[in-house]
């Protein structure tokens, strides 16, 4: 049987644009569902994308989410023009957040975003340069055998 082709695309995000929060994850969810990907994997991809959107909207000036869907994996990469993260280990701790109070009052900024993204992805990489920006790359395996041997 012929493997389906890979598809890719990107979403542009603007810092502070809370009104459009969730738009990218919602669109990606639709694309993945149309491709017949199982609901559990779609759910994981949508959640990590939503969390990524919030990080850009809360902390950065702008950012791009790039996705590619191959037969074996979903890859979601976020590249932002933001403040960068001085201490990644601290940022990865559940409950640690640098979000301002007004964002916390909205129920965001609870320090769960990055930990959730790591938990729900099969591979998680983060690179950051203070005062330049942060790149997060996540892979979600589409095949069970992709997990094995790792």
């Amino acid at each position: 049987m012929k493997e389906p082709e890979s598809i890719e695309g990107s979403f542009h995000l603007t810092g502070g644009d809370f009104n459009n929060a969730g738009a990218a994850s919602s669109e990606l969810k639709t694309i993945l569902t149309k491709r017949g990907i199982s609901p559990d994997l779609v759910r994981r991809a949508a959640i990590v994308t939503f969390e990524a959107e919030m990080n850009v909207i809360i902390h950065a000036v702008a950012g791009v989410i790039h996705y590619s869907i191959a037969p074996e994996t979903i890859r979601i990469a976020i590249n932002d023009m933001g403040p960068g993260i001085p201490d990644i280990e601290l940022a990865m701790q559940e409950g640690y957040s640098t979000a301002p109070d007004w964002v916390r009052e909205m129920g965001w900024g609870a320090g769960m975003g990055l930990p959730n993204m790591k938990k729900l992805s099969d591979e998680f990489r983060i690179e950051t340069v203070v005062n330049e920006g942060t790149t997060v790359e996540m892979l979600i395996y589409l095949r069970k055998d992709s997990h094995e041997g790792t």
Binding site: F18, N19, A21, G22, A23, S25, S26, K29, R43, A46, I47, F50, E51, M54, M106, G107, W108, A110, M112, G113, N116, K119, L120
Partner: protein, 111 residues
């Protein structure tokens, strides 16, 4: 149990016109931390919260929740309602605290 039955039993004031009230409700989740709701609420659950801004609709749609109940007679922001109508997500205001509404739903939905 359907959303409209919960509206009746809890005397909810429905704020949306287009919200789907015929959906089945499988359970309830209570929370104001959106990342927590995103991580832990399950499809079909009805969500009780104190948050009223438009992002709650995005979270509810993403998780395919069956509706949003605002505790303590809270009112949704205008942008919240607009988004909810577009997404056909039921948003209602409850004359009850989250504890009271959650307690009633627990009695109604546990099997």
């Amino acid at each position: 149990m359907k959303v409209h039955e919960i509206i009746d039993r809890l005397s909810l004031e429905v704020k949306t016109v287009q919200g789907d009230i015929d959906r089945a409700v499988t359970g309830c989740y209570i929370g104001d931390l959106l990342s927590d709701v995103m991580a832990n609420a399950k499809e079909g659950e009805i969500w009780i919260t104190h948050q009223t801004h438009p992002n709650i609709v995005a979270v509810a749609v993403l998780k395919n929740l069956s509706g949003i109940i605002l505790a303590n007679r809270r009112k949704p922001e205008e942008g919240t309602l607009k988004k909810a109508e577009e997404e056909r997500m039921m948003v209602a205001s409850a004359p009850l605290s989250a504890f009271q509404a959650g307690g009633m739903l627990y009695q109604m939905l546990r099997c």
